[in-house]
């Protein structure tokens, strides 16, 4: 087990990619079931310097499964300010050995990981309006991004468009609704793809809604987008927005 100084050392010019990086160890301190197949794991690092990461980055868990070490990246759903307690949020993937391994873990068990990694980050919000588009558990990296943007001195509008099958699948919903009450520049828009009867909010395919709202309804192309989800829909959204005239670098995304 390496301590956190290992991380500090790799920030200098000593990183050597031809050898595996040293891993951290963290203890599972809490498990929260958002739904039957979506859980947050709260990982406690040892006392000492905090793990430094940017909102949006991920860690790569090293999971001992079937005699080998699986590398499974999971976005950090907590904020850097929360110190050495990291939250990851994930779905149980049918047939997925990594998520099945994690869902079988209990409190007090130790997980190894490397990181932080990734370039899908928002640590300095742009002056332009930001639209965050999350699909399902793709909300995980966007959560610390929004918190960071709200805490910044920028005053540009922030909008969260959150797509999920049903209301119960909207993760951190109370947090989004509280931000919408407390911050005039933050708006929250849930979009359900398979709502139960009685849902009076937005519903329907995410692609169609984004095209209608951000491509057809106005000619403003100054927005910045941060998109995260699973599968080809993420790159389809990227292509839709870039072809519509949004700047390439203003459309950031992470596809899992």
């Amino acid at each position: 087990m390496s301590d956190l100084t290992t991380h500090a050392e790799t920030e200098t010019a000593s990183a050597v990619p031809s050898r595996p990086r040293a891993a951290y160890e963290a203890t599972i301190e809490r498990i929260f079931a958002h739904t039957p197949d979506t859980r947050s794991f709260f990982l406690r690092l040892p006392d000492g310097p905090c793990l430094s990461f940017k909102p949006g980055q991920f860690i790569s868990l090293l999971l001992p499964v079937a005699g080998e070490t699986l590398i499974r990246p999971y976005s950090i759903a907590s904020s850097p300010e929360e110190g050495n307690l990291l939250e990851i949020c994930l779905n149980l993937v049918p047939g997925g050995p990594g998520s099945h391994y994690l869902f079988a873990r209990g409190l007090g068990e130790v997980l190894r990981f490397t990181g932080p990694w990734g370039t899908f980050v928002l640590d300095q919000p742009p002056e332009a309006a930001c639209v965050f588009i999350a699909d399902g558990a793709g909300i995980a990296p966007i959560r610390p991004m929004i918190r960071c943007a709200l805490a910044s001195e920028q005053r540009s509008p922030l909008h969260l468009l959150y797509n999920a099958p049903r209301e119960g699948d909207l993760l951190y919903r109370q947090e989004w609704e509280a931000y919408a009450r407390d911050y005039r520049r933050f708006t929250f828009e849930p979009l359900l793809s398979d709502p139960l009867s009685g849902w009076s909010g937005l519903c329907g395919p995410l692609m169609e809604y984004v095209e209608r709202r951000y491509v057809n309804q106005d000619s403003d192309r100054s927005r910045h987008f941060y998109i995260c989800g699973v599968g080809q829909q993420v790159t389809q959204l990227r292509d839709l927005l870039r072809r519509a005239g949004y700047q390439r670098r203003a459309v950031q995304y992470e596809k899992w």
Binding site: P17, P20, F53, S60, I71, P73, W117, T119
Partner: protein, 117 residues
């Protein structure tokens, strides 16, 4: 048969792997037959923090020769490479660059931006 020659900016000894592209995948991370797949399947480490899912740049390699034997870049790969330190006109992500034959020579750069915050 194809040949993959790996040079290291750190000065480590080069590695040469001869393989049959038709036998890919050689393991389970990255695109089947990619530089990452060939290296890991032959016991040569290449960082791949995202598990070979084209979500980071830790498997960044610089192609010194044999570019014509690699598949074309996708937009997702190019978007990620934009953020790779030491980007060159022949940079590729090891997890995405599939070798179709011939001889390919790659340089493993020294640094990665992903862990820098």
């Amino acid at each position: 048969m194809a040949k993959l020659r790996v040079l290291y900016e750190t000065g480590e000894p080069e590695r040469v792997i001869e393989f049959d592209p038709a036998q890919a995948p050689f393991q389970h991370d990255g695109q089947s037959g990619s530089i990452l797949d060939v290296l890991l399947g032959h016991g040569v480490h290449l960082e791949h923090a995202c598990g070979g899912n084209c979500a980071c740049t830790t498997c960044h390699v610089i192609v010194k020769s044999g570019m014509a034997h690699l598949c074309e870049n996708s937009e997702t790969e190019d978007d990620l490479l934009d953020k790779a330190p030491g980007l060159t006109p022949t940079s590729r992500l090891g997890c995405q660059a599939i070798i179709d034959g011939g001889e390919v020579v790659v340089l493993i750069p020294r640094y990665t931006i992903n862990q820098q915050v």
